[in-house]
Symmetry: C2
Subunit: 425 residues, 2 copies
């Protein structure tokens, strides 16, 4: 370990091999969003703190990187992106045709205890559909999340979409004569069903005049799912995506701002983690704009940390990623300089090849030829020898197959090498 500075706990350095994985995720996010007609946007990493206090509430507000700037403003590093999206959409939505299909990829910050699968910064892929209250929008988002999992190399049994609808619990509450506040309380209890002990749940429910039996029956033997869930299931069936979805009414998502359909992408194997999640938040934009803009909305988010672990633990997804990373070579051609006096010729060649889009490396300083060969071999590139016996011709060598041929260093050399790269890679 070198002496000197360390990075902060919970903050990651991305060495090139880590950054390549990050970029593979980002590329896949962007590609799937593109297929679904979504456009990328970005909002600031810093926002006025009240934006988060107003919106998120609860657990998040105790995990903020919050401080005062030099101008005395109370500001916060964003813990999530939906609040900023709501702020931005309220300001500019009138310029865009509805429904608005937008996505974002960027970092978020939460002061949590660092551990496996949990860092203090993480990247999030946010996908949102604004201006459409029909459940066709919810189905579209769920379909996008399934397409993303497929594109990342996951198979049907690897994950499951757990689908639910807060409206179901609203109707349940009304039937049981609960007030709005009591129904909100009920949602909190349902959200913690898996985490709390049965006796705690029973006690919490009894204060609402309910029993655990009633609630469990409502989850396990629902009388009717309601129009939204029925439509969504038929919609996904038509796309060939029904098998990936499971109605699970115990899912309500913690955050207070969800208003209707909610869902999670759930790891279906050993660790049973939520990989992604989201839902409908029809009142958030109105609330962030003091009621001046009323725009129904739904969205979901997926973080980079859990999905990376899940890929690495799932052999077929890991293999697909590995294949993509290997196609992303650092270098196509390594120029070996066999005769130092030909250095300027090598530079001219490098320049010509690079302008044609070929990735080229060469020794920046005088280097023994043996060492150059070794470096070329490590780089995984093809080797072009300048200044050998064949000069001014060029010897091209594929190190993996140990084959060599001579190429004429004429005006078309970039084309010849491009063809060579395409046939041997």
């Amino acid at each position: 370990m070198a002496k000197g500075f360390q990075s902060l706990p919970g903050f990651r350095d991305f060495r090139p091999e880590d950054c390549a994985v990050r970029n593979y995720l980002f590329r896949t996010f962007r590609e799937v969003a593109r297929r679904y007609g979504f456009l990328e946007y970005e909002t600031p990493l810093l926002e006025p703190t009240e934006l988060y206090l107003k919106k998120s509430g609860g657990e998040l507000s105790s995990q903020l990187f919050r401080f005062e700037d030099q101008g005395g403003r109370d500001i916060t590093l964003r813990p999530e992106v939906t609040a900023s999206l709501g702020r931005l959409a309220a300001t500019v939505q009138r310029n865009y045709q509805k429904p608005i299909r937008w996505f974002e990829i960027g970092q978020c910050f939460r002061y949590e205890k660092p551990q496996k699968g949990r860092t203090r910064e993480f990247y999030q892929f946010n996908v949102d559909l604004l201006g459409e209250s029909n459940s066709g929008a919810d189905a579209e988002l769920i379909a996008l999340s399934i397409e993303l999992m497929r594109e990342l190399g996951f198979l049907s049994g690897d994950y499951v979409i757990r689908l639910s609808d807060r409206s179901y619990w609203q109707a349940f509450g009304e039937k049981k004569g609960l007030s709005e506040e009591q129904t909100a309380e009920l949602l909190q209890i349902v959200d913690k069903l898996e985490r709390n002990k049965p006796e705690v749940t029973e006690e919490n429910l009894s204060s609402l005049g309910l029993t655990a039996d009633e609630v469990n029956t409502a989850i396990e033997q629902p009388e009717a799912l309601g129009e939204n869930l029925d439509n969504i299931l038929a919609n996904l069936e038509a796309r060939g995506m029904r098998d990936e979805v499971e109605v699970d009414l115990s899912i309500v998502r913690g955050l207070a701002y969800y208003t209707g359909v909610v869902f999670e992408v759930f790891d279906a194997r050993k660790s049973l983690r939520a990989v992604a999640g989201g839902g409908r938040y029809d009142t958030l934009i109105s609330s962030l704009s003091d009621g001046s803009v009323d725009l129904p909305a739904a969205g979901f988010a997926i973080g980079d940390v859990v999905i990376r672990h899940l890929i690495e633990e799932t052999p077929h997804a890991a293999a697909k990623m590995q294949e993509a990373l290997e196609a992303d070579k650092a270098c196509d051609v390594f120029i070996v300089l066999a005769d130092e006096s030909k250095q300027l010729d090598a530079l001219g060649l490098a320049s010509k090849l690079r302008s044609a889009g070929i990735a080229v490396t060469y020794p920046l300083a005088p280097t023994k030829v043996g060492k150059q060969f070794k470096q070329a071999e490590q780089s995984g590139a093809q080797l072009a020898r300048v200044g050998g016996n064949e000069f001014p011709e060029l010897a091209m060598k594929t190190l993996s197959s140990r084959t060599e041929e001579t190429i004429t260093a004429d005006a078309d050399i970039a084309d010849s090498i491009l063809k060579r790269l395409n046939t041997t890679s």
Copy 2:
């Protein structure tokens, strides 16, 4: 203007049309770095404050977004990336073949007065070469900066590389009998030549026993440039890049950590701004690792704000960008649903096309056919009509040319449409 929350002064929202420009810059940064054999890395946005106090000093340390986290740590949002790179390189460099070619694209934060061309956050493209002290490394970086300007659509006369070498002033100082501290002072005076009044410069120089005449002569009629600059000029000449470079010994770059060759990419037209800059910093990594790692290094950085302005002000560069942005359409195919009862057929079609990589939009909720046509037209996509007279055949329409043909909705429909898109776009 909607009521409600505003973003912080100096922080930008990237609506899709802004984000597309940002992504065009990022794509070009990545493409040029790839051709030069550089690999992408990333470091945290937050670092311990002392990392910046130790390295940068001067002006930067008064512009920090600096605060205490919940664990009582004195932390700072990075104002630049080289300090983090030095920290990371000191820790992991032994695992990588030298020279290390690394680049980074990420946000930085400085508390400055917001104005045109200056924001409180900006993206920076950082390119660094570690482990090579030969001036061939400096030339490689300068060449990369020129290739970047070319790739962004700039022509020779639009910009100039101002090239200099701090060693020249070291030699000048030694000849004049200056101490190390006095030479450092001289560099500060030279750095401010353009900004300070002549009488201030004269006075500052006289305290070192020098005159403005002596210094101006050293800049304008140098006796010899030294081996580094001579080699770099010959190197760039061999690449066909000599015309873009101008030796200008008045360039020394403000930051204290530069040790040798320095350069700036300079707007050669009306506004005369520095667009990018960098140089050699051979002692920084040693200093950040308490002397445990000694790695010569050189690098440069370019921000997104000034280069975007310069592109927009330069017609041929703006046209090249516009062309790239237009190729990046939001949507390939808009499915118009002529008969609501065929909604599930439309979903199946959307799903099939998307899996084949085609970007598809369709109405998420029941929408009048006339309105769907209007939406399709605005999206710029080709139109596929489902449920019209020709159903189960599919009517494909190119809105720009008003031509229509019928396509068979069979197993190969995605292929047929892909072929259609390639021939008509």
